[in-house]
Amino acid sequence: MKFGIFFELSTPKPWRPDSEYQVYMNALEQAQLADELGFDQIWAVEHHFLEEYSHCSAPEVFLTAVAMRTKRARIGHGVVLCLPPFNHPIRIAERAAALDIVSGGRLEFGTGRSATWTELGGFGVDPDMTKEMWDECVRVIPKMWTQEAFGYQGKFLSMPPRNVIPKPYQKPHPPMWVAVTSPETAIQAAERGLGLLGVSVGTPREYEERVNEYRRRIRECEPVGEFVNEQVNGVTFMYVDESEEEARYWGSQLVRAFAALAAQFPAVSAIYPTPLYKVPGLLFGLRREQEKAQERAEATAAGTPGQGARSGPIREGMAIGDPETVIKQMKLWEALGMDRMVFLLNMGEAIPQEKVLKSLRLFAEHVMPKFDREAPAAKASAKPAAGAQKSTP
């Protein structure tokens, strides 16, 4: 199992003239250290208008800076909102290819469609159309990357034959992923041969059924790209400290800051009745879990770290605790067959920068050695797409 980090670039109020600058600089310092310590991937989200929660609306720019400061870590561009009103598919293909080039072929390409009314309403996107838009995008983008004259007549994109350039450095193209918050999306990822990029902060038990179904379905996939990416990537929070008590204190700050900031934004499913957003997504899900956790904490004595139940906002599977605790928690994910875990390190700058850096060092020094990380980070299936070349980037 491999480990990575991801950034929301959360910028809390009160905003000073240099607040966003400081958050970006802190994140770049964390990314550089993570690369030096051997973390395998560095991801950045794409969000719009989610004030305080995420100021990462131009992730390709931020990730270019990450690529310039790092040497080995894969560069996770994800998820890119694959909806033409947000990002024209040609521009997505061009920017991603350029990022792959400047990073020396380290790009991981995540796709998604947004789950908040804040974003969809802001771009005037009909929530009922997002699945179709996303589907069309993920089918045309790999063709733009691999064909010299790509022309297309579709519902949301039409273009005469053109050579979309540059082409990605990785051949035939970077691994593709999709953000998964529901069992339905996990199946759709599998059917298209896309990696499962879990974006719900869930427990290993909650992931288990979804992952098993994904593994089963992907054997029969019709990949949209030139190869199948059958990896499963989970997300959770991370804060490691020598002291369990200290770790739990700062880890709780992190989780609570995330939940409080996320709570501001109406999930599509909460405000707009549509079968395409039955599952409320990451933001709502975590709020609900937070509520349950608070109720549990009030009802029972504090749980014992590493032994199933965990107390307060800290849930099973979170990389929060002293190194021994975190190893136990990561073993739960490993037993589930996760290929990768990526961690959110800070939110609302709730944890001082020096502590975030120390947490990264402790994880690398004490936790990483306990896991087999020999397989290449960009593992892809040997199964080629129908009529496509067999390739492993």
Partner: protein, 246 residues
């Protein structure tokens, strides 16, 4: 030792509201109710001005107008219109009642005193047919709000969600110049069994703004969605009491 009275709290004087309310106690079953609800974006300042300090506003700020007709209730048929503000209590989605109108004198007392709806007596008209629905809310002869659903289409009932309601409840002070001795919010979570639903474009207007029933203080800044539904529901006991202050 002098003798003190023996009255227990459960055995209050018979004429006081607690012992002899002017309305049936909760829960009120409300079968066969018809709803038109519009959800729309509004102004940040409008929400912040009217939300209690323990609630936070969503981004973007939004509000709802729900017009309901209840053909059966313990006090007979009545209609209720509620304008509510999108809010978050702790981390959870809530709907904070800002203005309300009912057309039933009998329901009015219960809605105000028992559940805390900021209710006035008025006229509430709801019409729906062939994928279109309209409602008008009148107070003292003025149409303080009008809403509509246009170009409706049938949707799966289970996709329609109703947020828990927060109603402000206050005891007025009988001591001159003193603040209310009790201020809190009651959280009411009615259950809904939705039989049919449509969804369509939302329209909201305030044709005759009234200072006495100021629905216009929550400006319309763009539609989100309108929903029409037929459902069995209820007015239950409050589930939680939420503090007014943080």
């Amino acid at each position: 030792m002098p003798d003190y009275g023996w009255l227990e709290q459960e055995k209050l004087p018979h004429a006081l509201p607690l012992a002899a309310p002017s309305y049936p106690p909760p829960p009120w079953p409300l079968p066969g109710a018809r709803f038109l609800r519009v959800t729309f974006e509004t102004e940040r300042e409008a929400l912040l001005r009217w939300l209690p300090p323990s609630l936070m506003r969503p981004v973007p700020p939004y509000a709802q107008i729900l017009v309901a007709h209840y053909p059966e209730s313990p006090v007979g048929p009545f209609s209720l219109a509620v304008q509510s503000l999108g809010a978050r209590a702790r981390l959870l989605v809530r709907s904070y009642s800002f203005e309300a109108v009912t057309d039933s004198q009998q329901a009015l007392l219960a809605l105000r005193e028992q559940w805390g709806f900021p209710c006035r007596l008025g006229e509430v008209e709801l019409r729906a047919a062939q994928g279109e629905a309209e409602a008008r809310i009148r107070v003292a002869g003025r149409t303080v709000a009008a809403i509509a659903l246009r170009e409706g289409r049938v949707i799966e009932p289970e996709t329609v969600r109703f947020d828990p309601i927060l109603n402000l409840r206050m005891l007025s002070s009988l001591q001159e110049g003193q603040p209310p001795p009790y201020v809190a919010m009651a959280q009411i979570d009615p259950a809904y069994t939705i039989h049919e639903a449509w969804r369509g474009r939302a329209e909201v207007s305030y044709p005759e703004p009234s200072e006495g029933a100021p629905w216009h203080l929550v400006p319309f800044r763009g539609p989100i969605i309108a929903v029409h539904a037929v459902a069995d529901t209820e007015l239950p006991y409050a589930r939680f009491i939420v503090p007014f202050q943080t």
